[in-house]
């Protein structure tokens, strides 16, 4: 069998694991997740035919962000600020050094 990477990008793997972990910690039922995710895929798929890689995980990410902001686990503004903080961290960290927030 030709070996294929299980996840095409590291963030696909992180996002997958994060979702599975939250489900197992009892934050949402998997059936609820599948329903929401299916709805997002359908919505995203109206504009273009989604591939099973980045497109698929973009829909996954949008679903999880919405779910967590709805449950109050993560506020939308806090997510935006934290994303900006990580971006700033990458931009100020010399290449090869570990990227940290502080």
């Amino acid at each position: 069998m030709r070996p294929e990477p299980v996840f095409e990008a590291p963030w696909h793997a992180q996002l997958f694991a994060l979702t599975v972990h939250l489900n197992e910690a009892g934050h949402f039922a998997w059936s609820d997740w599948a329903e929401r995710f299916g709805a997002t895929l359908k919505r995203h798929g109206l504009e273009k035919e989604l591939n099973g890689g980045d497109d698929y995980f973009m829909a996954w990410l949008a679903t999880l962000e919405t779910l967590l902001t709805e449950t109050g686990a993560a506020e939308a503004t806090a997510l935006r600020d934290m994303r900006a903080a990580w971006e700033a961290a990458y931009l100020r960290t010399p290449h090869g050094a570990p990227v940290t927030l502080d």
């Binding site: 963030w11 994060l18 939250l22 910690a25 997740w33 099973g52 931009l91």
Partner: protein
């Protein structure tokens, strides 16, 4: 690397002579700073950081989950089940009758494999698995689904024109062979028991396992010939 950074920039060249932002610069400059990950990767990091700070997740658990699916769980598990079913008629009968206790006994249960149904390919029926809603898939037996299983193209076409899809996978069926498409859900997941290839009568279970491909257990392939 796709050009979808949130700010539309990838590289800031730090040299004094050209100290300027270079949008969509994909060339092989030295990177004075770390390469900025794509927008979704930053959003995932943001989620992780916030949830970790709130004590809602354990980062070590994430690594464990990734390691499990990258290295430990995969189609080998399903192949083991299929090879045993080919070798042991009683096991096969029990598996087709009620898969859950049989799989639990083999240790293949849990996460997205809570309720399994095994469907057998025969001379008269060829089974195919899809998830039209999202990408439900028997993780304990097959691991994480391949990209094509998750694509819109497969999810829509497997139901609409399964014979054509199968032909594209290189599987041509007899006219009299019916195709059954099983739509997986969060509650029920399927595994195809492929036909045992000819010329394998003298092979033992271990040798047979090597013939069972992932795609054959989705129904988009046949077991390999020895």
């Amino acid at each position: 690397m796709g050009g979808k950074g949130g700010l539309g920039l990838w590289t800031i060249d730090g040299g004094a002579a050209h100290d300027r932002v270079m949008p969509h610069d994909h060339s092989d400059h030295d990177h004075p700073h770390s390469l900025l990950p794509p927008d979704p990767a930053l959003r995932v990091k943001a989620l992780e950081t916030i949830l970790t700070q709130k004590g809602l997740i354990d980062p070590a658990a994430l690594d464990e989950i990734i390691d499990t699916y990258e290295n430990k769980i995969g189609p080998k598990n399903g192949a083991h089940v299929v090879a045993r079913a080919w070798s042991d008629p009683d096991f096969k009968a029990a598996l087709l009758e009620n898969a859950d206790p049989v799989l639990a006994e083999m240790g293949y249960y849990g996460r997205q494999g809570e309720h399994m149904v095994v469907v057998e390919n025969t001379e008269s029926v060829h089974n195919v698995i899809v998830c039209t809603l999202c990408s439900c898939y028997p993780w304990p037996l097959l691991g994480i689904p391949p990209g094509w299983y998750k694509s819109d193209a497969y999810r829509a076409r497997a139901v609409r024109e399964p014979r054509k899809v199968l032909a594209e996978f290189g599987v041509t069926l007899h006219k009299e062979q019916a195709v059954r498409v099983w739509d997986s859900t969060a509650e029920v997941r399927y595994l195809v028991l492929p036909k045992r290839p000819e010329g394998t009568d003298d092979m033992d279970e271990a040798a047979l396992t090597a013939l069972v491909t992932r795609d054959s257990m989705i129904g988009c392939g046949l077991a390999a010939r020895p």
